[in-house]
Symmetry: C2
Subunit: 395 residues, 2 copies
């Protein structure tokens, strides 16, 4: 006889909203954006703001904290600057060392920040991820203002709802889904990027264009060389449209906190994450994503999903932007898919991180992805060879 | 001239839902509830389940893991038991030592849990808070099934959306808002509670009744002596109604993740949290809450908000349940409100944790609270004296 249980069915919705702003000279005395954002949430009381800087960014903008000090003095009725500036290294170094999180927690405690205070993070995606995780877990969530300073962070990492650090050798093993209070993209920061960081962000734009917007892909194809020459205008357009597509995806996908198994925007990422690890993070995330996408696009072509013409278009667009589409690590232990050093191991690690069934995205045509749940290792081996050949002699 | 900024306004909702179940003999072979909950979310694939036990609970139920092993074997098509049982101490010891969180993260990594796996936590509120925080931050959220084993956890702590641990000497300094996958209240666990833990949970029921439901308060007043004599029937009713009121508050308050300043259910908690700390956690949370509420109710009466008759009713109901309503720590440094050891310091710590303006709840009548933003220290000093007198000679 089945038992009877009393059950209370709990159900509720939570609304999230935040502004993603595009500006220039953020802390110039004449730019009221930053102060206005804080004031809009708290018209009467001055709130505390703690700053976390990416060391790399700070070395290119050594006057920034002094500028912020002056800005804060002019807006003292709106916010109070915490004088304790936290700096952490950029790139995966930030995410691989959990003491940065501890250090930010300590600074939050020392400054007596509360849930109406702010942590403003100025830096690349890794610094934003790390400091964002620290802020999200202090007092169950201090508000964050993200000021991403790389192309990749401005068009992708910083506009979304995630944060996290690496642990146990796994990318983003620790983290939460917590939207920011606001995101501010200041184009000035892009000028001081080195060439690799400038380029890295382009691959996420190509990715989202391939999956969602053929017109945007045409724009990228057309402007690839100008982007590679560091022209600011097409880059601003790229960042705006890419951020917009990401935000739209988060808002309309029906699963912003990824409770299900699918993650359609992670195109090419199973291989990318593994390649970052296999190259000891010598590859930047965006560089690894370019290779990961090239691999899955080549697989899509070999599998008969994608036309040869579109396959060439995709690879040539990456190439024109200056990307390298092959690294020797792709060939590691290809005969032992379970081996820690095999690229194929990335499939299982990807599945594990998402949970549930393996779900990867392939390309049917430019602007249209298709999810699959099984892959053919031999076809991937062929795709890797094809990339090696292409890299030696582009079509 | 004001600058023009491009702004993308991001806005989306996230739906959360979970069952709060009331059962008996949870892992009895004939009880399908646990397996059914997992199967409902994943009809085809067996999911991994890691168990975290409260050491105190385990010492009273030494056969429990063996029983779960058998249960898992019978439901192997639904879930796979992770053989590595984690046990952590109960009470604030769990929350004061962050190595428990690290240890659970390690176990999650060792067992390769993914976002479709489960951490099932069996224990008191502190263990559920600690293990819940660990689960919420691994892979940005492993699903948790909470099996609270104390009255306090069954009717309050475990049905809500929070988790966390203490840090820097502050309660719940680290934590997140992440709802559980399910909550299962098994009445069997209440039988082995010691008298203090049995009683402790009653104060949260009195609290929520005072604020929201005069009928429920009458029920508690009427059954106070039977509750103190450990009769199971009124206790089951108390837990069900209290859980229901909590869940309803979370779903309908409009601010389940507490982004605003108000937290109406934290009646009496500014003093309670501080008293726990001042007594080195000698006071159980529920015992401290009883004193905190008695204090704020007495203040409400002295302030002219609450009638003398209702004031007496509240104190006498606590008394009939067996609560002590005065501890000498209430008198610490009353002339130095900013002093670390003064109860008044709890007001600022409470404000800081919530953020924003100080907001505390007082009582207008039984079943109806009222928020205030300023307090009168002298009136609180008088209320403390009154409690001391009452404790010596109840009215």
């Amino acid at each position: 006889m089945p038992r009877k249980h009393k059950v209370i069915k709990q159900e509720f919705q939570v609304s999230f909203n935040y502004d993603v702003c595009f500006t220039k000279d953020l802390f110039d005395p004449t730019n009221a954006l930053f102060a206005n954002l804080i004031q809009s949430a708290s018209p009467k009381v001055a709130r505390k703001v703690l700053f976390v800087f990416d060391e790399g960014m700070y070395s290119h903008h050594p006057d920034l904290f002094e500028q912020i000090r002056k800005y804060a003095a002019e807006h003292e009725d709106v916010f109070t600057l915490v004088d304790n500036l936290i700096t952490i290294p950029g790139g995966e170094a930030a995410k691989n060392d959990s003491t940065h999180v501890d250090c930010i927690h300590k600074a939050i405690n020392d400054a007596n920040l509360d849930r109406h205070s702010y942590v403003t993070i100025i830096g690349g995606g890794a610094v934003i991820d790390t400091a964002g995780y620290a802020a999200a877990t202090a007092h169950r969530g201090i508000r964050t203002i993200r000021v991403p300073t790389t192309v990749l962070a401005q068009n992708d990492a910083a506009v979304g709802v995630k944060n996290g650090i690496n642990a146990f050798g796994k990318k983003n093993f620790l983290g939460t889904f917590v939207p920011p209070f606001a995101v501010i993209n200041d184009v000035n920061f892009l000028e001081t990027l080195d060439q690799r960081d400038w380029r890295s962000g382009i691959s996420e734009a190509i990715k989202v264009a391939l999956l969602k917007d053929a017109d945007f892909f045409s724009f990228l194809e057309e402007h690839a060389k100008r982007l590679n020459r560091r022209e600011e205008e097409p880059m601003q357009e790229l960042i705006y449209r890419c951020a917009e597509l990401h935000l739209d995806h988060i808002a309309t996908s029906g699963d912003p906190f990824e409770m299900g198994s699918s993650r359609p925007l992670d195109f090419g990422h199973w291989a990318a994450h593994k390649l970052e690890q296999l190259t000891n993070y010598e590859l930047r995330h965006g560089e690894a994503v370019a290779i990961g996408i090239a691999l899955d696009v080549t697989y899509s072509y070999l599998d008969g999903l994608l036309s040869e013409q579109e396959w060439e278009k995709v690879l040539n667009t990456f190439k024109a932007c200056g990307f390298n589409l092959y690294v020797p690590e792709l060939q590691n232990k290809l005969d032992q898919p379970e081996h820690e050093e095999s690229i194929f191991r990335g499939l299982e690690e990807f599945r594990e991180h998402l949970g549930g069934e393996l779900t990867i995205m392939l390309l049917e045509e430019i602007g249209k992805g298709i999810e699959v749940h099984e892959v053919d290792y031999d076809l991937f081996r062929e795709a890797i060879s094809k990339l090696e050949t292409y890299e030696k002699q582009p079509v």
